[in-house]
Symmetry: C2
Subunit: 179 residues, 2 copies
């Protein structure tokens, strides 16, 4: 699982459609953390939820990088106007193994992840409908496997601006504080 | 990402330690669904939570296979007595890329996933401490990438006993009902 060279890795943003602020805070937070760790630039959250944006800001302050969560009022416009094709993650879609090659040749991608009730128009709006398997599982799992396939594992070492860096270890927690 | 032949895929069970019934129902459900989809046999849930076991039973009735969630009162005994080594998933562990080869040569593995407060003795009890990257993200994401690396994508087609099967499609939902 080598990390592909930067020139061969598409830049990826994520759009989460149909977040429910009362019900999904932890799932949407896990989705955002996964997007960040596996190299996405931005996660657009529809409808906006400032509490999730704030908790990812706190992660960025501590662990570095430039990832952010942005509120999205109109997800259809975002899909239409994004500077690259969109990939809708769904268990009903084409197998990832069959389209990963084509996806990895794109410069920019918008990966669209639905909530509990996915509007069926998403199937028509997206350039690709892609399944990570055809069994019910988790949008967090599907996003992780897709990003890992296209961009490799999370970048090792300290990220720019990090206050702390993990020193990977076979035994116990080792963390280096920066400065 | 071809699926390795069965003889080269370790059999894997998952142990979730520190589930909080009031707070984590959806995350533990996503974790169980991910374990099932990517080929684990059983997810042991500590402490037991029959509501999650029941919802995975409903998934099995509809989508087939033999996966189940079992309650676990004493996770330390399970780790010690399991018929294979244990792999603790943690952002502080050795990079997955460095140990995936050794893990895939095992016949059986117990993958241990901590909740919010991971007892530090887990680091000592587990045979391996493995990180999917060294950034904070999600136990669901980490489990998915680990299982995908060791067992390949979810098995395609209908699973034994399924009442319905997805017919992967570039456009829209196609499902075949069995009998």
């Amino acid at each position: 699982m080598p990390r592909p060279p930067a020139s061969e890795r598409p830049e990826i943003d994520v759009l989460r459609v149909g977040h429910r602020a009362g019900r999904d805070p932890r799932l949407s937070t896990h989705l955002a953390l996964t997007a960040r760790a596996f190299g996405a630039g931005t996660m657009w959250l529809h409808p906006p939820d400032p509490s999730i944006a704030r908790s990812l800001e706190a992660v960025r302050t501590r662990w570095g990088g430039t990832f952010s969560v942005e509120g999205c009022e109109d997800w259809r416009s975002l899909v239409r106007q994004f500077e690259g094709p969109s990939v809708h993650l769904t268990m009903y879609g084409e197998p990832l193994e069959e389209v990963a090659g084509a996806l990895s040749r794109e410069k920019r991608l918008l990966v669209v992840v639905g909530g509990a009730k996915v509007p069926s128009e998403l199937f028509g709006l997206a350039r690709w409908n892609v399944g990570v398997g055809a069994q019910p599982h988790s949008e967090v799992a599907a996003l992780a496997v897709l990003l890992h396939a296209l961009r490799g594992p999370p970048e090792a070492g300290g990220w720019p601006g990090a206050k702390q860096v993990v020193l990977p270890s076979a035994r116990g927690k080792r963390v280096r504080m920066v400065r």
